[in-house]
């Protein structure tokens, strides 16, 4: 179904974050979180976004999967990981400063204008800043529909039917394409990358784009003035048997 004129393209925006298994530590001076030497990975929700795009392509409903990230030079490793999962091309907006969600959405809009995707998929949130904003903001700036927290995604030629994980249960929306979808955990389980794919990914096209060329970082408006560890939990009591456990729960009015 690929045509040279108008390939159906999916753009997946990803972010590199501290791996979800790392116990982060706050710097003693309150200036932030210690990031030196910690393991960095693709944001888990973004890995789900890549996987979903690949599955759509494998079902023949898209021709090309392009991954994009905004970040410092060494984010190329993260993009190579995405390419080894199966994406065809990568775009790297090189930025040494952290962009606020609205600024990131503006940069992604520039990429959208270049690539003309039918669908943009992102993780619902990055597990570092936990903002949960960028996808919705991109959809708004693009003046297109959004379907956040997706747990099921079906594409037709002109629409996407998306089941969303909302507090009340599972909500299904139908949105016109192009659209922005953000992923929730149940959407899929990302594939494991095989060694030959890692080798192949090394030669796939990866384009670096200076941040200034796609709108810049904008003016930061939210200043983080302090970062603290949350109040710690105290280790409680140990009980020796089930009767004592029950008595303790009963005493506290919990059973």
């Amino acid at each position: 179904m690929e045509t040279a004129q108008n390939p159906r393209r999916i753009l997946v925006a990803i972010k590199r974050v501290v791996d979800y298994n790392v116990r982060i530590r706050v710097k003693p001076d309150g200036s932030g979180v210690m990031l030196d030497g910690v393991k960095l990975s693709i944001n888990p929700f973004d890995a789900i976004a890549i996987e979903e795009a690949l599955r759509i392509k494998e079902r023949g409903r898209a021709d090309e999967v392009v991954v994009a990230t905004i970040g410092p030079a060494d984010c190329q490793v993260t993009l190579r990981n995405a390419l080894s999962m199966g994406a065809q091309r990568a775009l790297h907006v090189v930025a040494d400063t952290v962009l606020e969600p609205l600024a990131a959405a503006r940069v992604l809009l520039k990429l959208v204008e270049r690539e003309q995707p039918v669908l943009v998929i992102l993780g619902k949130q990055a597990i570092d800043d936990d903002n949960n904003q960028t996808g919705q903001m991109l959809a708004t700036l693009w003046d297109r529909p959004q379907a956040t927290f997706a747990s099921k995604l079906e594409l037709t030629d002109t629409t996407a039917k998306v089941t969303r994980e909302v507090d009340a249960g599972l909500e299904t929306l139908e949105v016109d394409l192009p659209a922005v979808v953000t992923t929730d955990l149940r959407l899929n389980e990302p594939r494991f990358v095989k060694l030959p794919e890692i080798m192949k990914a090394k030669t796939k096209p990866l384009t670096s784009i200076p941040l200034a060329e796609v709108g810049g970082a904008g003016t930061a408006r939210v200043k983080v003035t302090k970062t603290e560890a949350p109040p710690g939990r105290q280790r409680g009591i140990m009980v020796k048997d089930t009767s004592e456990l029950f008595a303790e729960l009963h005493k506290r009015g919990l059973v």
């Binding site: 747990s151 955990l185 149940r186 939990r233 303790e248």
Partner: protein, 317 residues
């Protein structure tokens, strides 16, 4: 002086409790005028309910047939239309607010603060990052219009008993037609919703089979608890992914959390650390879960859980 617009959350003609928590958050701003906006189909009883929340000065009843279903893309231009005079625009940090508020912020070209857990002034707020493993203080310049989602677990609901004036508004903003509501399948069965339950019982890899999870369900039903699972249990196929509790699953703050056969990986502890009381049942005395548990017991879950059920039964006779 601050003025706060709160976007009400509602469904089925009922105001969601998250709205009363947003009002509570707004009362942190001394002297602020607090206005609740209800976006609903004409004839909805929700505005009248919002008018009863203590501390609310006015309610805007923004009535439009397109508001039958609360679609972010449809609501956002209407929120923007009424938000002009306000210094702060708040919504709840629920799936409703998380979906909608960034759209509002983008239209307003305003910064959004997500998951606000305390308000120190009109320009200074605290919010968690890294799933609550760090708490940041964030500031904006004076005069900046702030869009925020309010972390509902951090604020009590305000009382009712108020009698605010309700103004009906017909929105003029052009509303998009690119998004259609298809249906809503309510969350499963009689068991409480994991995200909002006051009691949660989770099983881990030590259950060793999906069949053994029945043990967890049995105890949960006995005490009216929701059921969760560790990522290890989900990965092993013992429980579905929507039951996953932890940084990459659901982050919860129940009154009682019972971790059964869960060792306590960092990403799991991240999801439960705001629970009021944590109980751990594990055969490994060295398991990290005991470091955060208020009550711990070392032993075989397959013995302890049935014993506990029997004791609960006996206490009710």
């Amino acid at each position: 002086m601050s003025s706060v617009l709160i976007v009400a959350e509602h469904a089925g003609g009922k105001l969601n409790a998250s709205t009363a928590k947003c009002v509570k958050a707004a009362t942190s701003l001394a002297g602020a005028e607090i206005v609740v906006a209800v976006f609903s189909a004409p004839g909805s009883p929700v505005a009248a309910q919002a008018a009863q929340l203590a501390g609310v000065a006015r309610v805007l009843d923004v009535a439009h047939a397109a508001n039958e279903h609360q679609l972010a893309a449809t609501l956002a231009p209407q929120v923007v239309e009424v938000s002009e005079p306000f210094s702060h625009v708040f919504g709840p940090s629920t799936t409703f607010g998380k979906d909608l508020m960034p759209r509002v912020a983008a239209l307003l070209d305003a910064p959004q603060l997500s998951d606000v857990m305390s308000i120190e002034s009109g320009t200074r707020f605290r919010r968690p990052i890294y799933a609550g493993n760090a708490i940041t203080t964030v500031e904006v310049a004076a005069g900046t219009k702030v869009v925020a989602t309010i972390r509902t677990a951090s604020f009590e609901a305000v009382a009712s008993g108020g009698a605010a004036k309700v103004e009906t508004i017909t929105p003029k903003a052009a509303l998009p037609t690119h998004t259609k509501f298809v249906n809503l399948a309510a969350a499963g069965g009689d068991r409480p919703d994991l995200q909002s339950a006051s009691k949660v019982i989770s099983g881990g890899r030590a259950l060793a089979s999906s069949d053994a999870f029945k043990l967890i369900y049995g105890l949960a039903d006995k005490i009216g608890a929701a059921v969760g699972a560790s990522r290890a249990a989900v990965d092993a196929g013992y429980a579905p992914n929507d039951m996953q509790v932890g940084q990459t699953g659901k982050i919860i703050a129940p009154e009682l959390y019972i971790a059964i056969g869960i060792s306590g990986a960092i990403q799991h502890l991240t999801g439960i650390k705001d629970a009021r009381t944590i109980v751990a049942i594990n055969k490994d005395a060295e398991a990290p879960i005991f470091e955060v548990a208020d009550i711990g017991i070392v032993g075989d879950l397959f013995t302890i859980v049935p014993e506990l059920e029997k004791l609960i039964d006996a206490s009710r006779k």
